[in-house]
Amino acid sequence: MESVIVVGGGLGGFTAVQQLRGRGFAGRIAVVDPEGVPYDRPPLSKEFLAGSIDAEQLLFVEPHWFAERGVDVYAAAATAVDLPDAEDDDGRVAVTLSDGGRLTADRIVFATGGKPRALPVPGGDLDSLLVLRTRADAEKLRAGLVPGARLAVIGGGLIGAEAASAAHRLGVEVTLIDPVDPPLVPAVGPELAGRLHAMHAAAGIRVLAAAPSEISVRDGVHELAFGDGIGPVSADVVLVGIGIVPNTALAEAAGVEVDGGILTDDAQRTSHPRAWAVGDCTRPRLGDGSPGRRAEHWESAMHAGTAAAAAMLGQEPPAQTASWFWSDRHGVHVEGVGDMTAGDTTVTRADASGNVQAAFRLAAADDGHRVVGAAAVDGGVAIRVARRMIDRGTAADPARLADPAVPYKQLLK
């Protein structure tokens, strides 16, 4: 392998580049992304939206990092990918760029991420509705978050909750709308989902358990209509945060197998021997060949970029670990690991004020219990311990998990 093109310079693509160089690959690397120099996304709904960090601080590394390592960054979109015949060992991958350029290489990594899902109601396609996926999205949203402005956030998941919290702190009048009450149960379990969702109302955010049936705009003011006897909501700014759709069109058109995500094995190989795929655009192909669940979290994109780089170089990929995410809102730090929808019982531990701090999801095993998932509010050590218990298959004692007198680290012993 002498050259690699990475399409997409988000976390997955950037990690693949960093790891290829870090693991000794000296060949040509090109990164193609209309966003230009790779930057990190989580702050877009947190510190960057709040204005406490600037665009430069979003960058993974300074621009000269790429030049110093002989990595070419093309600020353009890939519009077509031609893959050689799978059997042709000398064939080249060709990528056409939106600026008319054309690149060729031995291998390609699809790291195209996802795009915000559109709201499937009349008016859900209005140009004035905002989403939050890119730096430009965040800048546009922030420009509207002036004190006294009315913001309607549709979707109370991770991004919606964070944006609502940041906007509220900027003095904006926020209405948070989600038909599911509370949201995030699959991610953190019902105990913590309830506690977290209640923080919005406690902070002074208006919370509506409803789904808008139609959105219209007149003179810059949006009106959100609801079916079931709920009065309309007027908003100057509307943010839609109801999940993402993976960007798979480019790979699909190139003939790579796609099924609700670019299908990959655990070394991030696609169905084509020259093509790898990482991050939010992918969906794992399970051992039995069936498609698994998409990850859509920061750390899994990083792990995927690492695994792809290792596999391309014929090196051993790092050991798999339970998936992990975090979220920050209303001054608390939330983390989750593993799968809170698996297993059969939940054990919780309270913090000093009696609130649920951590929830552990357990599965029965022949010799007791195993942790399969955990979530915590301001309980990072609980999560780091739970992750190791999941990864190592450590036997778990429910009474000790629940007992605040037992330091979390003791649970590993």
Binding site: Q18, P42, I53, G380, V381, R384, K409
Partner: protein
């Protein structure tokens, strides 16, 4: 180079834990955390994570690494090397010595092994 500071006995910091020495109490002006690694050795790094604002002393110490409590970047306690994203900048190390069961920190003086 500054004089070493006696920061207490080895027993004051249990294995797998850390203690912060306030910036006002050491010549560097920034908080330094002293870690007791599980291998029994003591190491010191600037307390603030090189990614954003988090105290590494509140991190998860295992083997000779500390994992940041906020976004889980890992640092080598011996060399300060940033071992994974989101950190890309190494942490600054400081020399720590154990003499007669007492811990001596040399603020601003790098540990011998460098990243």
């Amino acid at each position: 180079m500054s004089d070493p500071i006696n920061i207490g006995s080895v027993d004051d910091i249990p294995p797998g834990e850390a203690r912060v020495l306030d910036g006002d109490d050491n010549s560097t002006g920034v908080d330094i955390s002293v870690f007791h690694a599980e291998d029994g050795s003591f190491y010191a790094l600037d307390d603030e994570c090189t990614h954003e604002e988090a105290s590494l002393a509140d991190g998860f110490i295992e083997d000779s690494q500390v994992e940041c409590p906020l976004h889980a970047a890992a640092f080598c306690l011996k060399t300060g090397k940033a071992l994974c994203l989101p950190a890309t900048e190494n942490a600054r190390t400081h020399r720590v010595e154990v003499r007669d069961g007492e811990l001596y920190l040399y603020p601003g003086e790098p540990a011998t092994t460098q990243a």
